[in-house]
Amino acid sequence: MNSVGIIDLGYGNLGSLYNAISEITYNVVVSQQYKVLKKYDILILPGVGSAGVFAKNFKKTGLKNFILQHTQNNKQLIAICLGFHFLFSFTTEDGGVEGLNIFPQKVTKILNRSHYSSRTGWFKVSKTRQLGIKNNSSFFYFNNSYGIKVEKNNFKNFGSSSSILAWIKKNNIVGLQFHPEKSQLNGKIVLNYLVNR
Protein backbone atom coordinates (compact mmCIF):
# COMPACT_ATOMS: atom_id res chain seq x y z
CA MET A 1 0.00 0.00 0.00
CA ASN A 2 1.38 3.39 -1.02
CA SER A 3 2.01 6.05 1.58
CA VAL A 4 0.78 9.61 1.00
CA GLY A 5 2.27 12.92 2.10
CA ILE A 6 -0.05 15.92 1.89
CA ILE A 7 1.87 19.18 1.51
CA ASP A 8 0.70 21.81 3.98
CA LEU A 9 0.87 25.27 2.43
CA GLY A 10 -1.39 26.98 4.91
CA TYR A 11 -4.76 27.59 3.32
CA GLY A 12 -5.58 24.20 1.78
CA ASN A 13 -8.67 22.24 2.80
CA LEU A 14 -6.28 19.89 4.52
CA GLY A 15 -8.88 18.34 6.82
CA SER A 16 -11.04 17.16 3.93
CA LEU A 17 -8.10 15.80 2.04
CA TYR A 18 -6.65 14.03 5.05
CA ASN A 19 -10.05 12.45 5.79
CA ALA A 20 -10.43 11.27 2.20
CA ILE A 21 -6.94 9.80 1.90
CA SER A 22 -7.06 8.14 5.31
CA GLU A 23 -10.04 6.12 4.03
CA ILE A 24 -7.70 4.64 1.42
CA THR A 25 -4.38 4.24 3.17
CA TYR A 26 -3.42 4.25 6.83
CA ASN A 27 -0.04 5.75 6.01
CA VAL A 28 -0.81 9.42 5.44
CA VAL A 29 0.67 12.61 6.83
CA VAL A 30 0.14 16.36 6.50
CA SER A 31 3.38 18.30 6.68
CA GLN A 32 5.43 21.13 5.25
CA GLN A 33 8.72 19.54 6.35
CA TYR A 34 10.86 18.13 3.58
CA LYS A 35 12.39 15.64 6.04
CA VAL A 36 8.95 14.19 6.78
CA LEU A 37 7.51 14.27 3.26
CA LYS A 38 10.52 12.59 1.61
CA LYS A 39 9.59 9.28 3.28
CA TYR A 40 6.28 9.09 1.39
CA ASP A 41 5.60 7.41 -1.98
CA ILE A 42 3.01 9.89 -3.23
CA LEU A 43 2.89 13.64 -2.68
CA ILE A 44 -0.34 15.60 -2.87
CA LEU A 45 -0.17 19.32 -3.60
CA PRO A 46 -3.59 20.55 -2.51
CA GLY A 47 -5.06 23.94 -2.99
CA VAL A 48 -7.84 26.05 -1.65
CA GLY A 49 -7.03 29.72 -1.54
CA SER A 50 -5.59 32.46 -3.67
CA ALA A 51 -2.51 32.05 -5.86
CA GLY A 52 -0.59 34.95 -4.27
CA VAL A 53 -0.80 33.55 -0.73
CA PHE A 54 -0.15 30.03 -2.00
CA ALA A 55 3.01 31.13 -3.86
CA LYS A 56 4.27 33.04 -0.84
CA ASN A 57 3.87 30.01 1.40
CA PHE A 58 5.36 27.79 -1.27
CA LYS A 59 8.49 29.96 -1.31
CA LYS A 60 8.64 30.04 2.50
CA THR A 61 8.66 26.25 2.80
CA GLY A 62 11.38 25.90 0.15
CA LEU A 63 9.72 22.77 -1.21
CA LYS A 64 9.92 23.60 -4.93
CA ASN A 65 13.11 21.68 -5.65
CA PHE A 66 12.05 18.82 -3.42
CA ILE A 67 8.79 18.37 -5.35
CA LEU A 68 10.57 18.46 -8.70
CA GLN A 69 13.16 15.97 -7.38
CA HIS A 70 10.34 13.73 -6.13
CA THR A 71 8.84 13.53 -9.64
CA GLN A 72 12.25 13.01 -11.25
CA ASN A 73 12.72 10.03 -8.97
CA ASN A 74 9.66 8.54 -10.65
CA LYS A 75 7.49 9.06 -7.58
CA GLN A 76 3.91 10.16 -7.98
CA LEU A 77 2.63 13.73 -7.58
CA ILE A 78 -1.09 14.52 -7.43
CA ALA A 79 -1.95 18.22 -7.67
CA ILE A 80 -5.45 19.46 -6.91
CA CYS A 81 -7.21 22.71 -7.88
CA LEU A 82 -4.82 25.56 -6.99
CA GLY A 83 -2.03 22.99 -6.63
CA PHE A 84 -2.94 21.85 -10.15
CA HIS A 85 -2.53 25.44 -11.40
CA PHE A 86 1.01 25.39 -10.03
CA LEU A 87 1.95 22.61 -12.42
CA PHE A 88 1.74 25.20 -15.20
CA SER A 89 4.18 27.94 -16.15
CA PHE A 90 2.19 30.93 -14.95
CA THR A 91 -1.13 32.03 -13.51
CA THR A 92 -2.58 35.49 -14.06
CA GLU A 93 -4.27 35.38 -10.64
CA ASP A 94 -3.20 38.00 -8.05
CA GLY A 95 -1.24 40.02 -10.58
CA GLY A 96 0.69 37.03 -11.92
CA VAL A 97 2.44 34.14 -10.20
CA GLU A 98 4.98 31.68 -11.60
CA GLY A 99 4.38 27.94 -11.34
CA LEU A 100 6.50 24.78 -11.55
CA ASN A 101 6.45 24.86 -15.36
CA ILE A 102 5.82 21.13 -15.75
CA PHE A 103 3.28 22.14 -18.40
CA PRO A 104 4.04 25.24 -20.50
CA GLN A 105 0.48 26.61 -20.68
CA LYS A 106 -0.86 29.56 -18.70
CA VAL A 107 -3.68 29.63 -16.15
CA THR A 108 -6.16 32.45 -16.79
CA LYS A 109 -9.52 33.72 -15.56
CA ILE A 110 -12.11 31.42 -17.02
CA LEU A 111 -15.33 33.35 -16.50
CA ASN A 112 -15.92 36.75 -17.94
CA ARG A 113 -19.69 36.81 -17.78
CA SER A 114 -21.04 39.18 -15.17
CA HIS A 115 -23.28 36.63 -13.41
CA TYR A 116 -20.54 34.19 -12.50
CA SER A 117 -17.39 35.07 -10.61
CA SER A 118 -16.48 31.45 -9.91
CA ARG A 119 -17.20 28.09 -11.46
CA THR A 120 -18.60 26.34 -8.43
CA GLY A 121 -20.64 23.17 -8.43
CA TRP A 122 -20.87 19.78 -10.07
CA PHE A 123 -19.77 19.46 -13.67
CA LYS A 124 -19.34 16.57 -16.06
CA VAL A 125 -15.79 15.55 -16.81
CA SER A 126 -14.74 13.63 -19.92
CA LYS A 127 -12.52 10.55 -20.31
CA THR A 128 -12.97 9.52 -16.69
CA ARG A 129 -12.32 5.85 -17.48
CA GLN A 130 -8.66 6.84 -17.42
CA LEU A 131 -9.15 7.84 -13.78
CA GLY A 132 -10.58 4.47 -12.83
CA ILE A 133 -14.30 5.33 -13.22
CA LYS A 134 -16.61 2.93 -15.06
CA ASN A 135 -18.36 5.70 -17.01
CA ASN A 136 -16.34 7.79 -19.39
CA SER A 137 -18.19 10.95 -18.40
CA SER A 138 -18.85 11.62 -14.71
CA PHE A 139 -19.72 14.42 -12.29
CA PHE A 140 -17.14 16.05 -10.05
CA TYR A 141 -17.14 19.05 -7.71
CA PHE A 142 -15.34 22.18 -8.93
CA ASN A 143 -14.70 25.47 -7.13
CA ASN A 144 -12.43 27.76 -9.11
CA SER A 145 -12.27 31.13 -10.81
CA TYR A 146 -9.14 30.45 -12.82
CA GLY A 147 -8.31 27.53 -15.07
CA ILE A 148 -6.80 26.30 -18.30
CA LYS A 149 -8.73 26.47 -21.54
CA VAL A 150 -8.48 23.40 -23.73
CA GLU A 151 -7.61 24.38 -27.26
CA LYS A 152 -6.93 22.18 -30.24
CA ASN A 153 -4.03 19.79 -29.67
CA ASN A 154 -2.52 21.64 -26.71
CA PHE A 155 -2.71 18.59 -24.44
CA LYS A 156 -2.20 14.84 -24.86
CA ASN A 157 -3.49 12.86 -21.92
CA PHE A 158 -6.35 14.82 -20.42
CA GLY A 159 -10.07 15.20 -19.71
CA SER A 160 -12.14 18.35 -19.93
CA SER A 161 -15.28 19.93 -18.56
CA SER A 162 -16.97 22.40 -20.95
CA SER A 163 -13.67 23.30 -22.64
CA ILE A 164 -11.90 23.77 -19.30
CA LEU A 165 -9.08 21.37 -18.49
CA ALA A 166 -10.40 19.03 -15.76
CA TRP A 167 -7.49 16.64 -15.41
CA ILE A 168 -4.13 15.92 -16.99
CA LYS A 169 -1.56 13.15 -16.71
CA LYS A 170 2.10 13.19 -17.64
CA ASN A 171 4.16 10.20 -16.58
CA ASN A 172 3.87 10.07 -12.78
CA ILE A 173 2.21 13.48 -12.45
CA VAL A 174 -1.55 13.89 -12.25
CA GLY A 175 -3.30 17.23 -12.05
CA LEU A 176 -6.97 17.57 -11.11
CA GLN A 177 -8.90 20.81 -11.41
CA PHE A 178 -11.84 19.33 -9.50
CA HIS A 179 -11.86 18.28 -5.85
CA PRO A 180 -11.86 14.46 -5.65
CA GLU A 181 -11.91 14.66 -1.84
CA LYS A 182 -15.34 16.33 -2.09
CA SER A 183 -16.78 14.55 -5.12
CA GLN A 184 -18.63 11.85 -3.19
CA LEU A 185 -18.44 8.34 -4.68
CA ASN A 186 -16.70 9.38 -7.91
CA GLY A 187 -14.06 11.21 -5.91
CA LYS A 188 -13.43 8.16 -3.72
CA ILE A 189 -12.97 5.97 -6.79
CA VAL A 190 -10.50 8.39 -8.39
CA LEU A 191 -8.43 8.80 -5.24
CA ASN A 192 -8.38 5.07 -4.67
CA TYR A 193 -7.30 4.52 -8.27
CA LEU A 194 -4.54 7.12 -8.13
CA VAL A 195 -3.16 6.11 -4.74
CA ASN A 196 -3.19 2.38 -5.35
CA ARG A 197 -2.25 2.13 -9.02
Partner: protein, 240 residues
Protein backbone atom coordinates in the same frame (compact mmCIF):
# COMPACT_ATOMS: atom_id res chain seq x y z
CA UNK B 1 -24.76 26.57 -15.22
CA UNK B 2 -26.91 24.07 -13.30
CA UNK B 3 -28.03 25.08 -9.83
CA UNK B 4 -26.78 23.46 -6.65
CA UNK B 5 -29.07 21.80 -4.15
CA UNK B 6 -27.62 22.81 -0.81
CA UNK B 7 -28.62 21.40 2.56
CA UNK B 8 -28.66 24.02 5.28
CA UNK B 9 -27.96 22.98 8.86
CA UNK B 10 -28.53 25.35 11.77
CA UNK B 11 -26.57 24.97 15.00
CA UNK B 12 -27.23 26.83 18.21
CA UNK B 13 -25.09 26.27 21.27
CA UNK B 14 -23.63 23.04 19.89
CA UNK B 15 -26.96 21.44 18.93
CA UNK B 16 -28.75 21.19 15.58
CA UNK B 17 -32.17 22.75 15.30
CA UNK B 18 -34.96 23.08 12.82
CA UNK B 19 -35.98 26.75 12.71
CA UNK B 20 -39.24 28.47 11.87
CA UNK B 21 -39.04 32.18 11.01
CA UNK B 22 -35.41 32.08 12.09
CA UNK B 23 -36.57 31.96 15.66
CA UNK B 24 -38.55 28.96 16.82
CA UNK B 25 -36.02 26.20 17.51
CA UNK B 26 -36.89 22.49 17.37
CA UNK B 27 -34.09 20.02 18.15
CA UNK B 28 -32.90 17.80 15.31
CA UNK B 29 -30.01 15.81 16.70
CA UNK B 30 -26.29 15.43 16.51
CA UNK B 31 -24.39 17.25 13.77
CA UNK B 32 -22.23 14.24 12.97
CA UNK B 33 -25.22 12.02 12.18
CA UNK B 34 -26.90 14.79 10.23
CA UNK B 35 -23.84 15.34 8.04
CA UNK B 36 -23.58 11.63 7.35
CA UNK B 37 -27.25 11.41 6.33
CA UNK B 38 -26.93 14.40 4.01
CA UNK B 39 -23.75 12.96 2.54
CA UNK B 40 -25.66 9.76 1.80
CA UNK B 41 -28.40 11.78 0.09
CA UNK B 42 -25.64 13.28 -2.07
CA UNK B 43 -26.76 16.89 -1.77
CA UNK B 44 -24.45 19.17 -3.73
CA UNK B 45 -23.11 21.09 -0.73
CA UNK B 46 -23.83 21.31 2.99
CA UNK B 47 -24.05 24.76 4.57
CA UNK B 48 -23.56 24.87 8.35
CA UNK B 49 -24.66 28.01 10.15
CA UNK B 50 -23.21 27.82 13.65
CA UNK B 51 -24.55 30.36 16.11
CA UNK B 52 -22.50 29.80 19.20
CA UNK B 53 -22.91 31.85 22.36
CA UNK B 54 -19.14 32.01 22.77
CA UNK B 55 -17.27 34.53 20.68
CA UNK B 56 -14.47 32.32 19.35
CA UNK B 57 -14.40 29.42 16.89
CA UNK B 58 -16.58 26.51 17.94
CA UNK B 59 -14.01 23.74 18.17
CA UNK B 60 -16.55 21.24 19.53
CA UNK B 61 -18.59 21.46 16.34
CA UNK B 62 -15.55 21.71 14.09
CA UNK B 63 -14.17 18.52 15.60
CA UNK B 64 -17.49 16.77 14.93
CA UNK B 65 -17.33 17.96 11.31
CA UNK B 66 -13.81 16.62 11.01
CA UNK B 67 -14.69 13.22 12.39
CA UNK B 68 -17.87 12.90 10.32
CA UNK B 69 -15.60 12.24 7.31
CA UNK B 70 -18.15 13.23 4.70
CA UNK B 71 -17.27 13.47 1.00
CA UNK B 72 -19.73 16.30 0.33
CA UNK B 73 -18.40 19.89 0.18
CA UNK B 74 -18.95 21.73 3.46
CA UNK B 75 -19.47 25.47 3.86
CA UNK B 76 -19.10 26.70 7.44
CA UNK B 77 -20.25 29.94 9.01
CA UNK B 78 -19.65 30.92 12.61
CA UNK B 79 -17.45 33.52 14.35
CA UNK B 80 -14.99 33.86 11.47
CA UNK B 81 -13.19 37.13 11.99
CA UNK B 82 -9.61 36.73 10.81
CA UNK B 83 -7.50 34.95 8.21
CA UNK B 84 -6.12 32.85 11.04
CA UNK B 85 -9.68 31.66 11.80
CA UNK B 86 -10.08 30.64 8.16
CA UNK B 87 -6.80 28.75 8.19
CA UNK B 88 -7.86 26.93 11.35
CA UNK B 89 -11.33 26.03 10.07
CA UNK B 90 -10.01 24.51 6.86
CA UNK B 91 -8.12 21.96 8.96
CA UNK B 92 -11.43 20.49 10.13
CA UNK B 93 -12.85 19.17 6.87
CA UNK B 94 -14.45 22.46 5.85
CA UNK B 95 -14.05 23.47 2.21
CA UNK B 96 -15.54 26.95 1.96
CA UNK B 97 -16.39 29.56 4.56
CA UNK B 98 -19.35 31.90 4.91
CA UNK B 99 -19.29 35.24 6.71
CA UNK B 100 -21.96 37.57 8.07
CA UNK B 101 -20.80 40.11 10.69
CA UNK B 102 -17.40 40.49 9.01
CA UNK B 103 -19.18 41.82 5.91
CA UNK B 104 -19.77 45.08 7.76
CA UNK B 105 -16.01 45.49 8.18
CA UNK B 106 -14.51 46.14 4.75
CA UNK B 107 -10.90 45.47 5.72
CA UNK B 108 -11.71 42.22 7.48
CA UNK B 109 -13.77 40.99 4.53
CA UNK B 110 -11.12 41.88 1.97
CA UNK B 111 -8.40 40.22 4.07
CA UNK B 112 -10.40 37.00 4.29
CA UNK B 113 -11.16 37.00 0.56
CA UNK B 114 -7.51 37.79 -0.19
CA UNK B 115 -6.41 34.77 1.80
CA UNK B 116 -8.81 32.12 0.52
CA UNK B 117 -9.93 33.57 -2.82
CA UNK B 118 -13.37 34.75 -3.93
CA UNK B 119 -14.50 31.25 -4.78
CA UNK B 120 -13.90 30.13 -1.19
CA UNK B 121 -16.12 32.75 0.48
CA UNK B 122 -19.88 33.16 0.68
CA UNK B 123 -21.55 36.24 2.13
CA UNK B 124 -24.53 35.31 4.29
CA UNK B 125 -27.33 37.86 4.45
CA UNK B 126 -30.39 36.83 6.43
CA UNK B 127 -32.99 39.52 5.73
CA UNK B 128 -36.54 40.62 6.35
CA UNK B 129 -38.68 43.05 4.44
CA UNK B 130 -41.24 44.98 6.45
CA UNK B 131 -43.34 47.72 4.85
CA UNK B 132 -41.02 47.70 1.84
CA UNK B 133 -38.02 48.37 4.06
CA UNK B 134 -35.14 45.90 4.00
CA UNK B 135 -33.25 44.82 7.09
CA UNK B 136 -30.18 42.55 7.22
CA UNK B 137 -29.34 40.39 10.21
CA UNK B 138 -26.05 41.23 11.95
CA UNK B 139 -25.20 38.06 13.82
CA UNK B 140 -22.57 39.50 16.15
CA UNK B 141 -25.14 41.63 17.99
CA UNK B 142 -28.14 39.54 16.90
CA UNK B 143 -29.96 42.56 15.52
CA UNK B 144 -31.40 43.55 12.16
CA UNK B 145 -29.77 46.58 10.51
CA UNK B 146 -31.56 48.73 7.98
CA UNK B 147 -30.22 48.46 4.44
CA UNK B 148 -27.80 51.21 3.53
CA UNK B 149 -26.52 51.85 0.04
CA UNK B 150 -22.80 51.97 0.94
CA UNK B 151 -22.98 48.51 2.48
CA UNK B 152 -24.97 47.21 -0.46
CA UNK B 153 -22.49 48.58 -3.00
CA UNK B 154 -19.61 47.06 -1.09
CA UNK B 155 -21.26 43.62 -1.00
CA UNK B 156 -22.18 43.70 -4.69
CA UNK B 157 -18.69 44.75 -5.74
CA UNK B 158 -17.07 41.86 -3.85
CA UNK B 159 -18.26 39.47 -6.58
CA UNK B 160 -18.60 36.59 -4.17
CA UNK B 161 -21.61 34.30 -3.83
CA UNK B 162 -24.33 35.72 -1.60
CA UNK B 163 -26.69 33.54 0.43
CA UNK B 164 -29.96 35.40 0.95
CA UNK B 165 -32.06 33.93 3.75
CA UNK B 166 -35.62 35.22 4.02
CA UNK B 167 -36.01 35.01 7.79
CA UNK B 168 -39.78 35.58 7.71
CA UNK B 169 -40.28 32.67 5.30
CA UNK B 170 -37.68 30.43 6.98
CA UNK B 171 -39.06 26.94 7.59
CA UNK B 172 -42.02 27.42 5.22
CA UNK B 173 -42.60 26.03 1.74
CA UNK B 174 -43.27 29.38 0.14
CA UNK B 175 -43.06 33.08 0.82
CA UNK B 176 -39.55 34.07 -0.21
CA UNK B 177 -39.78 37.80 -0.86
CA UNK B 178 -38.52 38.27 -4.41
CA UNK B 179 -38.19 42.04 -4.01
CA UNK B 180 -34.75 41.42 -2.54
CA UNK B 181 -33.54 40.04 -5.88
CA UNK B 182 -33.80 43.50 -7.45
CA UNK B 183 -30.90 44.61 -5.28
CA UNK B 184 -28.62 41.80 -6.41
CA UNK B 185 -29.17 41.56 -10.17
CA UNK B 186 -25.55 40.89 -11.00
CA UNK B 187 -24.52 38.81 -7.98
CA UNK B 188 -24.29 35.02 -7.80
CA UNK B 189 -27.07 34.15 -5.39
CA UNK B 190 -28.13 31.23 -3.22
CA UNK B 191 -31.65 31.49 -1.81
CA UNK B 192 -33.07 30.03 1.38
CA UNK B 193 -36.43 30.29 3.15
CA UNK B 194 -39.81 29.76 1.54
CA UNK B 195 -38.54 28.79 -1.91
CA UNK B 196 -39.55 25.15 -2.27
CA UNK B 197 -43.13 25.19 -3.51
CA UNK B 198 -42.45 28.00 -5.98
CA UNK B 199 -39.04 26.82 -7.00
CA UNK B 200 -39.50 27.37 -10.75
CA UNK B 201 -39.87 31.09 -10.03
CA UNK B 202 -36.20 31.11 -9.14
CA UNK B 203 -34.93 29.63 -12.38
CA UNK B 204 -32.83 32.72 -13.09
CA UNK B 205 -29.31 32.87 -14.38
CA UNK B 206 -27.71 34.55 -11.38
CA UNK B 207 -29.34 32.16 -8.87
CA UNK B 208 -26.70 29.45 -8.55
CA UNK B 209 -28.13 27.46 -5.67
CA UNK B 210 -31.16 26.72 -3.52
CA UNK B 211 -30.53 26.03 0.16
CA UNK B 212 -33.06 23.81 1.90
CA UNK B 213 -33.32 23.77 5.67
CA UNK B 214 -34.89 20.62 7.08
CA UNK B 215 -36.78 18.65 4.50
CA UNK B 216 -33.70 17.23 2.82
CA UNK B 217 -32.89 15.60 6.11
CA UNK B 218 -36.11 14.02 7.22
CA UNK B 219 -38.14 13.51 4.07
CA UNK B 220 -37.25 10.28 2.34
CA UNK B 221 -35.81 10.79 -1.16
CA UNK B 222 -36.58 14.51 -1.06
CA UNK B 223 -33.33 15.42 -2.82
CA UNK B 224 -33.95 12.89 -5.59
CA UNK B 225 -37.53 14.12 -6.08
CA UNK B 226 -36.46 17.75 -6.20
CA UNK B 227 -33.82 16.97 -8.79
CA UNK B 228 -36.14 14.92 -10.97
CA UNK B 229 -38.91 17.54 -10.94
CA UNK B 230 -36.63 20.52 -11.56
CA UNK B 231 -34.17 20.01 -14.36
CA UNK B 232 -32.18 23.11 -13.41
CA UNK B 233 -30.61 21.03 -10.64
CA UNK B 234 -27.76 18.70 -11.43
CA UNK B 235 -28.88 15.10 -11.69
CA UNK B 236 -25.99 12.92 -10.67
CA UNK B 237 -27.86 9.61 -11.13
CA UNK B 238 -27.76 8.80 -7.47
CA UNK B 239 -28.00 5.25 -6.19
CA UNK B 240 -28.76 5.18 -2.49
Amino acid sequence: MKKRLIASVFIFNDKCYQTISYNNYRPLGDIKNILQILDRHQVDEIFILDRNKNKGLNLIILEKIRTSKVFTPIIYSGAIKTCQDVKEILKYGVDRIAINSSLWDEKKTLDIIGAIGKQGVIGVLPFKIINNEIFFFYSQDRIFKKLDSIFLDFIRNLKIEILLIDTLADGFLKGFNIKILNYFNSSQLILQGGVLSEIQKFNKKNIVGIAVENRLLWKEHYAINLRSKNNFFINKNINL
